[in-house]
């Protein structure tokens, strides 16, 4: 959206010029963000406001700004970003600007360019000839690339939550609490899922092995079956224990029907991994009839894309697991287009990792028995995440019940 920054000064509060300007912006279906405001303290003190005005079209913005100038608004001079060359491959220049996961624009000369993707903890590489601005991780940097330094000429558009309808994400705000009315929240989640699918948005699930350990796999499979999962990010463990359960009916050796440790059960996950390694991978195991049920089976059967990212404590791992962390990040990022909801269940490691890759516009729900996981997620910049503190099994059971009731 095109935007201009205007400044108002004078007795704008007593004269009601400030409310008039803001009302006029809203009345013309434009939006505003107050960048700075200083209210005069004494009667004769003047006040100051810097307001960023955005409008759907450049023409409407011009007409609006023209009108606002009558009320004394002055258009701030637009500053272009400062660029510096990367000193070496994989190294940002001094003073580089660190991105957030919010929509960001950079002004290069007369043009304002959107930074893509909306990826946090990156630097912005500007290609002036191609008129692109790219959020780039260290490994993407080549010596001499032009990187944004400082804060000048950068415009960050804060996430605008819907004002017309209150969805679960607003209802929950971004707090994590064990004292939320869980059923109401889960019912809203079910609606949110349906809405996302109606609008052709993709639902991403980031899952830990707790889904299997807690006996929630069958509910999760239903979600996959019904088309409410388009993408699964997990580690070796979820897949390994899901396959262990599919082949041996145990998860980490525990018989999930009886809840008891089976004899030599702790070896089962190793045998499961070995079986898949023997088959050459999960897809091959499904194709040759070795793997006949479970989450990974359903994913393959329903065409749900998945990325399994490795970690240092993995057994095996399964051949499908990407053990190079940077390659795993790239693989996940490559699949994020179109994702509108991310549900993170029972994994701190992968939740935070994926949170770092998501634009702020992706509605993110974190379900964990440990309240600390959501806190950590939001502390690391995924401020849009909302949390539900509960065991995975009852959560998924209730979620699938609501969806089933609505089907």
């Amino acid at each position: 959206m095109p935007s201009e920054t205007i400044e108002l000064r004078g007795h704008i509060i007593d004269s009601l010029i400030l409310p008039k300007v803001l009302d006029e912006i809203i009345a013309r279906e434009a939006t505003f963000k107050i960048g700075e405001i200083r209210i005069g303290e004494r009667r004769n003190d003047q006040s100051f406001a810097r307001i960023e005005v955005s409008s759907p079209s450049a023409d409407e913005l011009d007409a609006l700004v023209l009108r606002l100038r009558q009320h004394g608004a002055e258009v701030s001079e637009k500053k272009t970003v400062q660029l510096a060359a990367a000193p070496a491959d994989g190294v940002y220049p001094q003073g580089f600007y660190v991105t957030t996961n919010q929509q960001t624009f950079v002004r290069v000369g007369e043009a304002e360019i959107e930074v893509r993707p909306a990826l946090m903890d990156s630097a912005i590489v500007v290609d002036r000839a191609a008129k692109t601005a790219t959020a780039t991780k260290f490994y993407g940097i080549k010596k001499g690339m032009e990187v944004v330094v400082g804060h000048q000429g950068i415009r960050v558009v804060p996430l605008q939550r819907s004002t017309v309808r209150t969805d679960v994400f607003e209802f929950m705000s971004s707090n994590v609490s064990v004292e939320k009315p869980k059923s109401a929240v889960i019912r809203e989640m079910a609606r949110e899922f349906k809405r996302a699918r109606e609008e052709k948005g993709k639902i991403l699930v980031v899952g830990g092995p707790a889904i299997v350990h807690t006996g929630a796999a069958e509910h999760f499979e239903k979600l996959i079956e019904w088309g409410f999962v388009q993408l699964l990010f997990a580690g070796n463990a979820l897949a390994a224990h899901d396959i262990e359960y599919a082949l041996f009916e145990t998860s980490l050796g525990v018989n999930l029907e009886e809840g008891a440790l089976t004899q030599h059960g702790t070896q089962n996950h190793m045998r499961a991994i070995n079986a898949i390694r023997g088959a050459g991978g999960i897809r091959q195991a499904v194709a040759n009839g070795l793997l006949k049920r479970g989450i990974m089976y359903s994913c393959v059967k329903r065409g749900v894309d998945f990325v399994l990212a490795g970690s240092i404590r993995d057994d095996g791992p399964l051949p499908d697991v990407i053990t190079d962390a940077i390659e795993a990040q790239k693989a996940m990022r490559a699949k994020l287009d179109g994702v509108t909801i991310a549900v993170m269940m029972g994994t701190m490691l992968h939740s935070i990792a994926v949170g770092n890759l998501l634009p702020a516009t992706v509605k993110t729900l974190c379900i964990d028995i440990n309240p600390g996981v959501v806190t950590k997620l939001t502390d690391r910049g995924s401020f849009q995440a909302v949390g539900l503190v509960t065991d995975i099994e009852p959560f998924l059971r209730e979620l699938t019940d609501f969806i089933a009731a609505d089907r």
Partner: protein, 269 residues
């Protein structure tokens, strides 16, 4: 005692059209012009005021409207930056005259239009300024900085009432009379919140420029044609002096437009 500044109407006439009142097809009657202006001058003198006269200049017919010379506070004079080129040439004559009479002349930036007392009226300690048709908000800000006073900027929305002194008249008791529809909704609210006691002037009286009045303590010199306002003011203990102003109304002016206070305020705050 505050002095008043007038300008004899020797060169007055409707020679151009810069507001909806003006029509070159409807010229002013020269004899009547002299008579009406004389009537005002004598009325102000009879009310015990010292009236100073700035010499009129040929080809500047509107110089007669001295309220637009500028704004005088204490011994400081802020000259107008006229929006219309037809009146722009008045400014140096007014400024020079004020300087000769011992006033410090403080010009506003040349790109900020400002039409003096016509768009800047004190009510108590607060300076009410109109904007849009003639004066810019930016000028209000500059005036506030010079005078270090609270300026309430209000948007004028009816082109017939193009200066604030055509639709708003503060009274010394803290009240004011006004024609509310001349202001936008925010301006009305701003005025209401700073001037709690307001006398609304009906449109049929406002169009006689009833708000364009010179208030000298309890004496109110205003154009004739506002019996209801005169009655309201009378009930509040004001003595009204309605004067015929037909020839000046043809240019969009009346008693107040023809008068500038010297100074409007002794001190700004």
């Amino acid at each position: 005692m505050r002095k008043l500044l007038l300008c004899p109407p020797d060169y007055y006439g409707i020679e151009y059209e810069i507001n909806p009142w003006m029509s070159r097809a409807r010229g002013a009657d020269t004899a009547l012009v002299q008579k009406q202006w004389r009537g005002l001058y004598e009325k102000l003198v009879s009310l015990g005021r010292e009236v100073l006269l700035v010499p009129p200049r040929p080809k500047l017919p509107d110089m007669v409207f001295t309220a637009n010379a500028g704004l005088t506070v204490g011994k400081r004079f802020i000259p107008s930056n006229f929006r219309h080129k037809e009146r722009a040439a008045e400014a140096p004559f007014f400024a020079a005259w004020m300087e000769e009479h011992g006033y410090e002349v403080i010009w506003l930036p040349a790109d900020q239009f400002f039409e003096g007392e016509g768009d800047a009226l004190f009510a108590g300690e607060t300076l009410f300024c109109g904007y849009k048709f003639r004066t810019d908000v930016a000028a209000h800000r500059s005036v506030a900085e010079i005078l270090r006073c609270l300026v309430i900027s209000v948007e004028l929305v009816d082109p017939r009432f193009y200066h604030i002194d055509t639709c708003f008249c503060p009274l010394p008791d803290g009240s004011a009379f006004w024609f509310p529809a001349a202001f936008d909704e925010y301006g009305q609210r701003a005025i209401r919140s700073h001037v709690p006691d307001l006398i609304d002037v009906p449109e049929e009286e406002a169009v006689h420029f009833s708000c364009n009045a010179v208030v000298l303590d309890r004496e109110v010199v205003l154009p004739e044609g506002a019996p209801r306002l005169v009655e309201s003011l009378g009930e509040r203990g004001y003595h009204c002096h309605p004067l015929p102003m037909s020839e000046f109304l043809k240019a969009g002016g009346a008693c107040k437009c023809l008068t500038m206070f010297m100074p409007q305020r002794e001190k700004s705050s």
